[in-house]
C-alpha cells in the first residue's frame, strides 16, 4: 500500500510530471510564468482544484457511466473553479486581485481533466486526493522553476511581489539579483516562455538518460555477478 503511494509521489513530482513529462497545461503555464511569484500562485490554486476534483470525481465514480463521463467531469471542474473564484473574490479579496487573473485559466488546464479521467475515475478517494496533491505540487514546482528562470533572465529579480501573495513575512525572498539590470524583454514575452521551457525539457531528458544509464550499469553488473555465483 505504501509502495503505491510512493509510486504516486514519484509519478507526480518527476516521472509523470504534468509539464515536464506529459507536456500538459501549457496554456496557463506560458501565460503566467513571467515571474516566480505568479507561477507559485497559479500552482497553488491549481493544486487546490486538483485535490478537490480528485475527491469529487472518485466519490462519484460509481454512478457516472463511461458514456457521459467527459461532460460530467468538465461540469464538475468548471463548477469547482467558479465557486473557488467567487469565494476568493468575496472573502480573500487582496489575494484574489493577485490570483484573480489565473483562476478562470485553471479550467483551461487539460491536466485536471486528464487526471480525473485517468486516475480519479478508477481509484479510491484517498488515493485520488493524494494523486491530485502530488500532481499539483509537481505542476507548482514546474511553474516556479520556469517563472524563476524567466524572471532572473528577463528582469534580474526573483520572487518580486511575493508580499502581495504570501503576506509581509515573505519580504526576505524578494531578491534583486542584478542591480540596474535593463532587462531582457524577449524572455518575459510569451516566446521566451517557449524558449525557456524547451531548455528545461531538454535538461530533464538529459538527466533521465543519465539516470537510466546508471540503472542499466547496475543491472549489467548484477547480471555479470549472476553466473559466478551459480
Amino acid at each position: 500500500m505504501s509502495n503505491e503511494y510512493r509510486r504516486i509521489t514519484k509519478d507526480g513530482l518527476w516521472d509523470n510530471n504534468i509539464v515536464f513529462s506529459q507536456a500538459l497545461g501549457l496554456c496557463p503555464l506560458l501565460a503566467v510564468t513571467g515571474t516566480a511569484t505568479n507561477g507559485l500562485g497559479m500552482g497553488l490554486a491549481t493544486t487546490v482544484v486538483m485535490v478537490a476534483s480528485g475527491l469529487l470525481i472518485s466519490l462519484l465514480r460509481g454512478i457516472i457511466t463511461p458514456q457521459v463521463r467527459i461532460p460530467v467531469f468538465v461540469l464538475i471542474i468548471a463548477v469547482l473553479v467558479t465557486l473557488v473564484d467567487m469565494s476568493m473574490n468575496a472573502w480573500v479579496h487582496d489575494l484574489h486581485k493577485v490570483l484573480g487573473l489565473f483562476i478562470p485559466l485553471i479550467v483551461t488546464n487539460c491536466a485536471i481533466l486528464g487526471r480525473a479521467e485517468s486516475f480519479a475515475s478508477r481509484n479510491t478517494v484517498m488515493k485520488s486526493m493524494y494523486d491530485g496533491l502530488m500532481m499539483g505540487i509537481g505542476f507548482t514546482l514546474a511553474l516556479v522553476l520556469l517563472g524563476a528562470a524567466r524572471e532572473i533572465l528577463g528582469s534580474g529579480t526573483l520572487f518580486s511581489n511575493a508580499v502581495q501573495l504570501l503576506g509581509s513575512w515573505a519580504r526576505f525572498i524578494e531578491i534583486t539579483l542584478i542591480e540596474d539590470y535593463k532587462g531582457f524583454l524577449l524572455i518575459i514575452l510569451p516566446p521566451g516562455g517557449f524558449l525557456v521551457l524547451g531548455f528545461i525539457l531538454a535538461l530533464k531528458r538529459l538527466l533521465d538518460q543519465k539516470l537510466a544509464g546508471r540503472e542499466q550499469q547496475a543491472i549489467d553488473a548484477s547480471a555479470k555477478l549472476q553466473p559466478e555465483t551459480s
Binding site: 458514456q67 457521459v68 461540469l75 463548477v79 467558479t82 469565494s87 468575496a90 479579496h93 524583454l185
Partner: protein, 223 residues
C-alpha cells in the same frame, strides 16, 4: 482492478439522460447558491476598490461627502456615457473624478483622472493596460513617476499645442522606445479636460436634494 458487474439499467439511454440532467441541475443550483452567498461581499469589495482608486486622484481633503454618492452620468462627444464621481465640500462641488480611455500600443489604456473645480488636474492613474513590459509600462506609478507630471496642468496654463509629448512639440516627456503609449495618455487626459470645459456648468452644479425627502428626515440626518 476488477470492475464490478454493471447493472443493466445503467446502459439505458434514460439513465444517461437523467445522469447528465441531474448533474447540470445540481451544478446550476450550486452556482446560484454560491452567487447568492458571495454577491453582497463582492459588491462591497468592488466599492472599496473603486474608492481606493478614486482617492489616488482626489485627495481626501478636497471633499467631506461620500464620493460614490449620486454619481453623474453625462454623454461625452462620442456618445458614451461617462460616470463622474463628485466630491462635495459643504454644498459646493470641489473635485471631480472620472474614467478616460487612451488608445495605447496594445489596446485600451483605462485611466482615472481627478480634476478640481477650476479645471486643474489633481491626479491621473492607470487602472489597466496591456502595454509592453519594460517599455510602455512606465505609465504605472509603481514603475515610474511620469504619470505624476500631469498634476496642476489645466487648459488655461497649458495650451492645446503644449498638450502633446515633447517629440510632437508639446510639454510632456515620452519614453525612449515608447512614444505611442505616452502620446495616448496625454491625448486622453487632454480630451478629459476638454470634456470638463464643455460640461462645466453641469458638472459643478450642486446636487439637488431629493424633494421627496421629508424635511424632518433630512434634519435628523444632518444632525
Amino acid at each position: 482492478m476488477s470492475t464490478p458487474k454493471e447493472p443493466q439499467y445503467r446502459k439505458r439511454v434514460g439513465y444517461q439522460a437523467v445522469l447528465l440532467g441531474g448533474f447540470s441541475t445540481l451544478a446550476t443550483a450550486l452556482l446560484v447558491a454560491g452567487n447568492i452567498a458571495t454577491k453582497d461581499d463582492i459588491k462591497a469589495r468592488q466599492k472599496e476598490d473603486l474608492l481606493r482608486s478614486l482617492n489616488q486622484v482626489v485627495p481626501t481633503e478636497y471633499y467631506d461627502s461620500d464620493l460614490l454618492d449620486q454619481p453623474l452620468s453625462i454623454a461625452d462627444k462620442r456618445g458614451d456615457n461617462l460616470t463622474v464621481y463628485r466630491g462635495l465640500q459643504g454644498m459646493q462641488v470641489n473635485a471631480l473624478a472620472w474614467e478616460v480611455v487612451g488608445k495605447g500600443y496594445a489596446g485600451d489604456i483605462r485611466l482615472i483622472m481627478g480634476v478640481n473645480a477650476e479645471g486643474e488636474v489633481l491626479g491621473v492613474r492607470v487602472l489597466s493596460h496591456a502595454e509592453t513590459p519594460g517599455l510602455g509600462d512606465k505609465i504605472e506609478v509603481a514603475k515610474d513617476d511620469w504619470i505624476l507630471g500631469f498634476k496642476n496642468h489645466s487648459l488655461v496654463n497649458t495650451s492645446n499645442q503644449q498638450w502633446r509629448v515633447k517629440k510632437d512639440g508639446g510639454e510632456f516627456d515620452q519614453f525612449s522606445g515608447a512614444t505611442i503609449t505616452p502620446r495616448a495618455i496625454v491625448t486622453a487626459v487632454h480630451d478629459g479636460l476638454i470634456f470638463f470645459q464643455q460640461h462645466t456648468d453641469e458638472l459643478l452644479r450642486p446636487p439637488v436634494i431629493n424633494s421627496d425627502d421629508e424635511p424632518l428626515q433630512r434634519a435628523s440626518l444632518s444632525e
